[in-house]
Amino acid sequence: MTSTPPAALAVVAEGLEFEYPAPRRILALKGVTVRIPEGQFAAIVGQNGSGKTSLARCISGYLRPTRGSLRVAGTEVWRLRPSQRATRVGYVFQNPDHQLFRERVWDDVAFGPQNLGVSPDQIQESVERVLRRLELWDKRELHPFQLSRGDRQRLAIAAIIVMRPQILIVDEPTTGQDMARSREIMDLLAGLNREQGMTILTITHVMELVAEYARWVIVMHDGRVLLDGPPRQVFSRAEELRITAITPPPVARLGLTLGLDPLPITVPEARDAILRRLPA
């Protein structure tokens, strides 16, 4: 990895450790060192128990590291009050139902900024902007319970991005949804990343989407970073990935078997790579 001036790093972790307090006493993170530059779109992958969720929770400030150092958006984020944290790191949880706090869609999105002490005029403007962007403006008067799962997922995201966090962590946005909906969510995140320079960290286990959207992959295994790098590089380390539950997308596995170089990770890349290799 090339070294980057510290000011441009969204997340810097060195020897980060986290142990859950008694009575559980599990060492979830055993020395994580990772640097995520601002504006990155990174995927954190790994099986259950690998520490990926604990890492995300530390980065978002819920968990306080027990050892090592962690700076997020330049600060020790766990020290901040929730209202200060929300503008630096946003966290969207896996189940949208756990994040719906108000009886109207509009109110739910406004809830966060209200807690931050934003002026009512500013709230009006931000909420409208975000609802329109997420195609929920027409549903702003509805009760969240009436929304489809996909819409509730978007609402959960809306309620966090309205506070304009520098870094957005999204926990398993694809669970319980079909691929088309999952892609819509990923497109949305890619849009935020591109247009606003928001650093995106997404925890996911769908490698096809990682290949299509992420520019950086952090593979967690047994409380440590096993591999990190661009998807192409990570997927090519098949031997090392074997101990995790991570299986590269089919086209990447094909590429590895056939020795295609550079390794294709999406269908168009695979087609091109194969056509190039064929005798004319």
Binding site: R85, Y91, N95, H98, F101, I160, M163
Partner: protein, 294 residues
């Protein structure tokens, strides 16, 4: 994730007792607690019983004891400060006097409370709620009522876990509910958390109801057959032994209490009235359970 008050699937003597036995024991224990004068005896007794016969060390429910402590302290303080003379010889705290009988009374009530609480969690820690429900069913309680009761207890840990996630989600919205010392903020946080908790529960309950229906929850009523109780719930010799010990223990406690002059001075009329009330209550409960018996 083992959470407080929840059944810890173990295999001790207490775990293997019939739930009805434990119920009898707890009732006898509770009554005895109110009759004996030394405050520390009963809490110590129940902790020891749980440790030896249940193989659950007090460290495992330390959190519960710690939760009781502020309550106990409050009770002691209240009695200490509000009961009458004779007072302790302390430097005057303004108009406040520390009452000697208040100290004794306060300790008594506080420790009795602790004993009661620990007896209750003894029950919940060593009893599978479904064993309890099915024991009640075998004793005549309507199946669906018995099942739903156990079912509620089974889902309690899930709700607790969800509440943790919800509280974190609340923090993500900039709302400081968790660490807040402001009671208004804290309570409002609780109120706000009810909605997502309820929403999740509601959504899941529809699926659960369907799954239960598909696996025959209403089969017996629809087809007209009788349910089988697969689990082996019956009163064994050791259950009868424990019931006997509990009842004798209660009688002994009553006798000891009267001997020590510690038996609560309740006017005879009240005692008779209480006895009649108890009998009436039991009869009504029995009649109700018979009518809704499934």
């Amino acid at each position: 994730m083992k959470l407080l008050y929840q059944f810890s699937a173990g295999d001790s003597f207490l775990h293997r007792l019939d739930p009805r036995t434990k119920l009898v024991f707890v009732v006898c224990f509770l009554i005895s607690t109110f009759l004996l004068p030394e405050p520390w005896v009963m809490p110590l007794a129940i902790i020891t019983i749980i440790w030896i016969f249940g193989r659950v060390s007090p460290l495992e429910y330390l959190v519960f004891i710690l939760f009781l402590l502020p309550l106990m302290t409050a009770i002691v303080l209240i009695h200490l400060l509000t009961d009458g003379p004779p007072y302790f010889d302390t430097p005057p705290l303004g108009v406040l006097h520390l009452s000697r009988p208040g100290w004794d009374a306060g300790l008594l009530v506080a420790f009795r409370l602790a004993a009661m609480g620990i007896a209750f969690i003894m029950f919940s820690m060593t009893t599978d709620p479904f064993d309890w429900g099915m024991a009640m069913y075998q004793s005549g309680l309507n199946y669906k009522v018995a099942f739903m009761f156990a079912f509620a207890m089974r889902f309690f840990p899930l709700l607790q876990e969800e509440l943790v996630v919800i509280r974190n989600a609340l923090t993500a919205r900039g709302y400081r509910a968790i660490g807040s010392r402001n009671p208004y903020v804290f309570l409002r946080g609780v109120a706000i958390s009810i909605m997502p908790l309820g929403l999740g529960a509601l959504r899941r309950s529809r699926d659960i109801a369907l799954a239960m229906e598909l696996r025959g929850f209403n089969y017996a009523e629809t087809v007209g057959t009788r349910r089988t109780v697969f689990r082996d719930i019956r009163m064994r010799p050791r259950d009868h032994a424990v019931v006997a010990v509990s009842v004798f223990g209660l009688i002994a406690a009553v006798a000891l209490s009267v001997r020590l002059g510690a038996f609560p001075e309740v006017p005879r009329a009240w005692l008779v009235f209480l006895a009649i009330l108890l009998v009436l209550f039991s009869v009504i409960a029995w009649r109700i359970s018979r009518t809704i018996k499934g």
